[in-house]
């Protein structure tokens, strides 16, 4: 029974990690909004979350543009790049590319309005996850105290 006590918090903690990772990716997109040739990245939350929940499945689903080689390895002597969500425990990642809304002359695929919306959306969800964690820990505390 006690082993299951913190299951809910564990789940939310992993969700929090994926959210913070996504926040980072979106921040990079916003930082590179004026960089010529930059291609926007994003995290597929569903895939990243299931990868974070099942550390046994060692599946690297890194989306790469056609012609590129996964993990940046182009020579036999290369050391593969560390995966994004490696800290989530399994080295599996699902970093994808954003869809281009309008073509730009400089080859930049970032749409600032979309990124800002995504950023706000992600931060609200991050806060929601925080609330879930603190609510759940309060529930456990009140169960322990029995008052």
């Amino acid at each position: 029974m006690f082993a299951n006590l913190t299951n809910g918090i564990d789940f939310q903690a992993r969700a929090l990690l994926v959210r913070s990772e996504r926040q980072r990716v979106i921040a990079s997109n916003i930082a590179n909004v004026d960089t010529p040739g930059y291609v926007g990245r994003d995290i597929n939350f569903k895939e990243a979350m299931s990868a974070a929940l099942h550390p046994s499945e060692l599946s690297v689903t890194l989306a790469q543009p056609q012609g590129a080689i996964a993990s940046g390895v182009t020579q036999p002597g290369h050391i593969p790049l560390q995966s994004t969500l490696g800290m989530l425990g399994n080295g599996s990642t699902s970093l994808a590319y954003t869809q281009q809304v309008q073509p730009a002359m400089d080859g930049n695929s970032v749409d600032l309005d979309h990124e800002r919306a995504n950023f706000v959306d992600n931060s609200v969800r991050y806060e929601a996850t925080l609330r879930f964690i603190s609510g759940e820990s309060k529930t456990i505390l009140s169960a322990i105290q029995g008052q």
Binding site: E21, Q23, R24, A27, N32, S83
Partner: protein, 134 residues
């Protein structure tokens, strides 16, 4: 905490945009500069942004990789009374296009503001995470 690297990413963007703003300021300041007797007038400058990979694939910052001079021809104006006028009565001015520079300035300041906002949001989230369970 992985979210701390947002400060590095947005910080690099802020400093790059500030540099762009600096270049715009120097272009606008020299918009009416007249070339000396050597005929070499002020040439408009532009920053070139480049993505910088950071600690992981998820975060990439930005840097100013080069500052390039515009190759547009210098402006010539007929001002025979000007002390720098040549034998035909023409002076050579910079090739700065003030309208372009103003647009550049607004774009740079908006990007700057966006990145400040990103940092503020990240800071708020981190603070809320620290207050977890209180």
């Amino acid at each position: 905490m992985s979210m701390f690297s947002i400060f590095n990413v947005s910080g690099s963007a802020i400093s790059s945009q500030a540099q762009r703003l600096n270049v715009v300021a120097s272009n606008l300041a020299n918009a009416d500069a007249v070339a000396g007797p050597d005929g070499k007038g002020y040439k408009a400058r532009q920053v070139v942004f480049q993505t910088v990979p950071m600690d992981s694939e998820a975060s990439s910052g930005v840097k100013v990789s080069a500052i390039e001079e515009s190759q547009e021809p210098l402006k010539r104006a007929y001002q025979p009374g000007h002390p720098m006028a040549d034998s035909d009565g023409y002076i050579t001015q910079s090739n700065v296009n003030p309208v372009e520079e103003m647009v550049n300035m607004i774009s740079a300041s908006r990007s700057y503001q966006n990145n400040v906002e990103v940092m503020n949001t990240a800071k708020t989230l981190l603070l809320k995470t620290l207050q977890l369970g209180q």
